[in-house]
């Protein structure tokens, strides 16, 4: 038995080898290179100075209010998108889980269909609706109102992001709803609780792990999203990912782009970890490890 154990673990490493290699080659390596790049000196006339390192990019990121504003905007938009996804997704998952046999699967597939369509196609769909001469504005003018600027505003970006992110909220919440014992709700009702109290005190605490993973996925994806802010926010309403793109491809300042990318990654990690800690600490003992 004793000599079987190391062989088993070697076998395990062997099996996970391909995945590890892929992970190292496609994630860790580029990330390392990006990190190195972010410290490289850059000159607008001669480009990247190989072998010369500086903290200048990080310093300008901290001191320049231009970057500040974009980071702030990215995080409030992501937080709002996450909140909206919770407010829409949790009730939607609840309704889904209470549906009868044929409808439940039909609506679950409907919820998932947006994932089958390219983000770019969906973003263009929204810009057709929200554009200066789009369907919404046509309706407003037809009703005698003045056209409103919708596209290239935070509003358009938020709508587009919520639309894209909803499935990522609904699926984990739906999964945790499946684990609930319907008799527990009946028990609470028989003990004199109202429907609302049952939801607040019995259902909601039990689906918190699902809501937590939903919020983590949605916030992470929204804060680093590129296509939606790029297409619905336009050139003026920049978010961090579109700013990185500009640094790389318009300014050709790769080290600056790398710096912003690294900082975005760190802040994202920090926000998600502390949120996870906060919620988990509250529910960990009650919900089991």
């Amino acid at each position: 038995m004793n000599d079987a154990k190391p062989r088993n673990s070697a076998w395990g490493y062997g099996l996970s080898g391909p995945a590890l290699a892929l992970f190292l080659a496609l994630l860790v390596l580029p990330l390392g290179l990006t990190l190195v790049l972010s410290f490289n000196q850059f000159d607008y006339t001669t480009g990247i100075q190989a072998g010369q390192y500086t903290l200048a990019h990080y310093l300008s990121l901290v001191t320049d209010s231009y970057y500040y504003e974009i980071f702030l905007r990215t995080f409030w938009i992501s937080a709002l998108v996450t909140l909206l996804c919770v407010l829409i997704g949790v009730p939607e998952a609840l309704v889904l889980s209470r549906m009868g046999a044929p409808w439940r699967s039909i609506f679950l597939i409907l919820v998932l269909t947006p994932l089958l369509i390219s983000v770019v196609v969906r973003a263009f769909g929204w810009s057709l609706l929200l554009g200066a001469d789009g369907l919404v504005n046509q309706a407003i003018t037809a009703l005698g109102g003045k056209p409103v600027k919708l596209l290239y505003t935070p509003f358009a970006v938020i709508i587009g992001l919520v639309h894209v992110m909803l499935p990522f909220m609904i699926i984990p919440v739906w999964t945790s709803l499946q684990k609930l014992d319907p008799a527990a709700e009946q028990a609470a009702l028989s003990l004199g609780a109202s429907q609302w109290t049952v939801f607040r005190r019995i259902v909601l605490p039990q689906i918190m792990p699902g809501v937590l993973s939903g919020t983590l996925i949605v916030f992470g994806l929204a804060a680093s999203s590129f296509a939606i802010p790029g297409l619905l926010g336009g050139r003026r309403l920049k978010m961090v990912a579109t700013m990185i793109y500009d640094q790389y491809l318009a300014e050709l300042n790769w080290p600056m782009g790398a710096t912003i990318a690294i900082v975005l990654l760190l802040i994202n990690l920090l926000v998600m970890l502390s949120w996870n800690r906060l919620v988990e600490r509250r529910y960990k003992r009650a919900l089991g490890a």
Binding site: D181, A183, A184, Q186, A187, A188, L189, S190, L191, G192, A193, S194, T197, R201, I202, P205, Q206, Y283, R285, A286, L287, G288
Partner: protein
């Protein structure tokens, strides 16, 4: 004094009649079991009383008040579910306190009553634990405490013991019995286990295919089953053919219009030629306190149970004779029905 009255209660799901026009009156303080195989409508009946299932027709009257269409919350009944249905994210104390919090009872009073009830179910040492940290039997007690603490007019138990292992089940049977006696609460228990129903109920209600077919005390139910189904479902029974004897008493015969039932433990075993019917032991099973013999006779294979009183058991293949008192034969069907 009728406490709970179920009058012509009926539940239909489309064309399926889950409960058909069932009536039942339960007295105050009584322990009644609703016994039947799965799918007989017993759980549906309980859920209609609890208010989780809409009544198609009929009436439910609790202590003079018509609750047929009342909301579950307003009925105030104590319900114990088969799955226990504890709130997994709350401690035992919070689980039990929930019903009192819903009734806006003062904090100090809640603490006092929760402590009292937990002591009643002997869980006072586990108040701060979470349900998943408890064993099956302990969870069962929490569910019971949670239902009892609100001092409901009536306790409804839905298959309360079916998730427990055999030893614990017996222990909890007597525990439920003790608590019910101590509190004196009117109780309706749904079960598919006849031993459970017989051992702790004052009266047993048997349901078959959505209908109540017999309401009797456990002894009467066992000794005088009113349908062939009940004679098989409650305990074991041998089916025999018979004729009406001269003295009005039924008698066993090879052919006859009557369907008779004879309990295995009512049959005595003796040496070959000494009794009413000769046979040969086909096989035997040791049940601990009893021996179960399958005996081949001219009337078919019969089950015979005898007490394990320490004497040597009969060998398989040995010739025996069966004897019984004709008074213990039960007529299940007087007509020409195939056994």
């Amino acid at each position: 004094m009728t406490f709970l009255l179920i009058d012509q209660l009926c539940k239909r799901y489309g064309d399926l009649e889950a409960v058909a026009s069932s009536s039942l009156a339960i007295d105050k303080g009584e322990f009644v079991s609703l016994l039947g195989p799965s799918g007989c409508g017993k759980t549906t009946t309980l859920q209609m009383i609890a208010g989780f299932v809409e009544v198609t027709s009929g009436r439910i009257v609790l202590d003079g008040r018509d609750i047929t269409h009342a909301k579950p919350a307003s009925r105030g009944l104590g319900v114990v579910f088969q799955s226990y249905a504890l709130f997994p994210h709350m401690t035992v104390r919070d689980n039990v306190a929930f019903g009192l919090q819903m009734r806006k009872v003062a904090k100090a009073e809640i603490a006092r009553r929760v402590d009292h009830t937990l002591a009643l179910v002997r869980l006072d040492k586990h108040a701060e634990r979470y349900p998943r940290e408890l064993s099956g039997g302990q969870r069962q007690r929490v569910a019971l405490a949670r239902a009892l603490v609100i001092e409901p007019p009536m306790l409804l138990l839905d298959e309360p013991l079916s998730n427990l292992d055999a030893h614990l089940r017996e222990e909890m049977q007597f525990e439920i019995c003790r608590i019910q006696n101590e509190v004196g609460i009117t109780t309706l228990m749904v079960t598919h286990d006849q031993a459970e129903a017989l051992s702790i109920s004052d009266r047993v209600v048997v349901m078959e295919a959505g209908r109540i077919t017999q309401i009797d005390n456990p002894y009467q139910l066992y000794e005088h089953p009113s349908t062939p189904f009940i004679s098989d479902f409650v305990g074991k029974a041998n089916r025999l053919r018979g004729v009406q004897g001269a003295n009005g008493m039924p008698q066993v015969a090879a052919q006859g219009p009557l369907t008779l039932s004879l309990r295995p433990e009512k049959i005595g075993l003796g040496p070959a030629g000494s009794g009413k019917l000769d046979g040969r032991i086909n096989c035997r099973y040791f049940l601990g306190s009893q021996w179960l013999y399958r005996v081949d006779t001219s009337l078919g294979n019969l089950a015979v149970v005898s007490i394990n009183d320490g004497s040597a058991a009969l060998e398989e293949g040995s010739a025996v004779s069966l004897t019984w008192n004709d008074e213990l034969l039960r007529v299940l069907d007087a007509g020409e029905v195939a056994a």
